[in-house]
Symmetry: C2
Subunit: 323 residues, 2 copies
């Protein structure tokens, strides 16, 4: 990746994704693609589920974090890495740090769910608890950096993270799937950005869609009005999609993505249950959002070949309304 002047935003190229793939290939899974006749009949199209729920740490985030950490020069790595996250990026960064033998410090809100805290702790990361506000998260992270000199790895506003996430769609096309559409969930836009760069390069006729919950539709509005709306008080069960686009991810998405569609909470749950019931795999609500998009906007996808990035499987089953 080239150095740019401070004003310019670094955008990863497809070459950066190739480099990322070489770098992380020994540490992350090449995940399988599942299909289901039954779901195809139900959705009236051909679905190809790229199963990042089977990825290391249970989500695609391991790709980006691994690439970012492996790309750091040795002297910078020595002081460790840090982030604030209560979700999949926390586990991914802890995992990557463990592999390269450096320390990860994760700032987590004290209200974070126990299973997530346990996962991060089991990967030997140090957890610093803060209040459950963005302000407290950022201040606490600043303190950590000041004290330790750790490098902050942002969950999505980082070109190496974006390049790592792009390896997922790269595998899908390399495996020979000819797709009319590729769908990824949108939170901060790291996965959708990486997916769009790989897709534009490898399969230029494939339409690239982001899918977002109606109750957290900041990316949808940003795409529509061509300006970034922050995510304010998002209300959705898809806890991985609460964040706002960054200037970097917005720029990439605006340039590459064909559309962003939104889905209702009911459809997210229905999609999640169908994946449990028919594919027999565990998916988190955020990971079910693209399939919900196919169900809710069915006429767009009828009779088409649709790639679905099933982004993760870290779900707290006790919180799901199975009844």
């Amino acid at each position: 990746m080239e150095n740019k002047t401070s004003k310019e935003i670094v955008i990863p190229s497809y070459e950066d994704i190739i480099e990322a793939h070489k770098r992380i290939g020994n540490y992350v899974h090449r995940t399988p693609v599942l299909t289901s006749k039954n779901l195809n009949e139900l959705a009236k199209c051909s679905l190809f589920f790229k199963c990042e729920n089977f990825q290391k740490t249970g989500s695609f985030k391991a790709r980006g974090a691994m690439n970012a950490v492996l790309s750091l020069p040795k002297d910078k790595l020595a002081n460790g890495v840090a982030t604030h996250s209560s979700g999949n990026h926390a586990q991914a960064l802890a995992f990557a740090a463990k592999i390269v033998g450096t320390k990860a410090t994760i700032v987590m809100p004290r209200t974070a769910p126990k299973p997530k805290i346990n996962s991060v702790a089991s990967l030997n990361a140090e957890i610093i608890f803060c209040e459950p506000t963005l302000k407290s998260r950022e201040e606490t992270l600043s303190e950590v950096v000041e004290k330790t000199g750790a490098v902050v790895i942002h969950p999505y506003d980082n070109p190496f993270v974006i390049a790592g996430q792009g390896t997922c769609a790269k595998e899908l096309f390399e495996d020979g799937y000819k797709l009319d559409f590729i769908l990824a969930p949108v939170g901060g836009g790291g996965l959708l950005s990486g997916t769009s760069i790989s897709t534009k390069f490898l399969s230029k006729n494939t339409k690239i869609f982001g899918v977002e919950p109606e109750g957290a539709n900041d990316a949808y509005k940003s795409f529509r009005d061509n300006k970034i709306y922050p995510s304010v008080n998002p209300q959705t069960i898809a806890d991985g999609l609460l964040t706002s686009l960054s200037e970097r991810t917005f720029k990439i998405i605006k340039h590459n993505v064909d559309d962003i569609i939104t889905v209702s909470e009911e459809m997210i749950l229905q999609a999640m249950f169908l994946i449990f019931e028919r594919l027999k795999i565990v998916v988190e609500p955020s990971g079910a959002v693209p399939f919900a998009g196919v169900l809710q906007h069915n006429t767009i996808f009828e009779k088409k070949k649709v790639g679905i990035i099933l982004s993760g499987g870290n779900v707290d089953l006790s919180k799901m309304p199975f009844h």
Copy 2:
């Protein structure tokens, strides 16, 4: 399979399992084997999960039903097939009948769970409801047979069904796994019988264990005391393991199986949750029973290579105590 005089019990041979595999190969999946470093560390042994939850109709039962139906002479097939079942065999027989183009009639207790009724109905089988007692099930099935001339396919006391179930372990050994142990759940003993015949032939040093819930331990007692105990008022969440051994399955199990161990309800649930959480796949309680055996009787399996037949994934999530 040779014809025997009426008094003699027909026991399938490994050759019958080879034949079964050829017969059903185009219609059922060769299921994947999953491993997890994380679960290996937890269980202190090397685990190989043979994923029959990904099998057609969501359980290994598709193998046996398919083999039994494909083995029927054309003239017998013409009148259709029938069984009484509220579980996985019902779906499997409906599936097999649909493939060969004959009719399946399934006698189901009127209390059977809605999702199971829907699955059977969606496979075009005719459902006849009866009272939820064995007497009513058997009487209703007799009436069906009398009226239609349908062939009854028993869920496990049928040599073709047993030979079909044996193809699962056959695949595991053919895939090159060298196992110290192979574990299957025991209900009526069809899967364990088939597994034991394949294992004895393909890997004679592999120990064969059946695993059963403590609250439905009739096979355990039968094995111990060398006489068949019926399953009386079984109490377990593992709804696939409520049935009793038949003379045929008892004879095979006595001859081939090294031991039957039992597991607590708590351990079944813990095993099921661990499989959800770490393997990210959906397993039904009965399917989690062998892994529960490894967890509960850990010293037996320490540092060994253990094959686990994860028998199915048809679980009613709304009934699971996730809280």
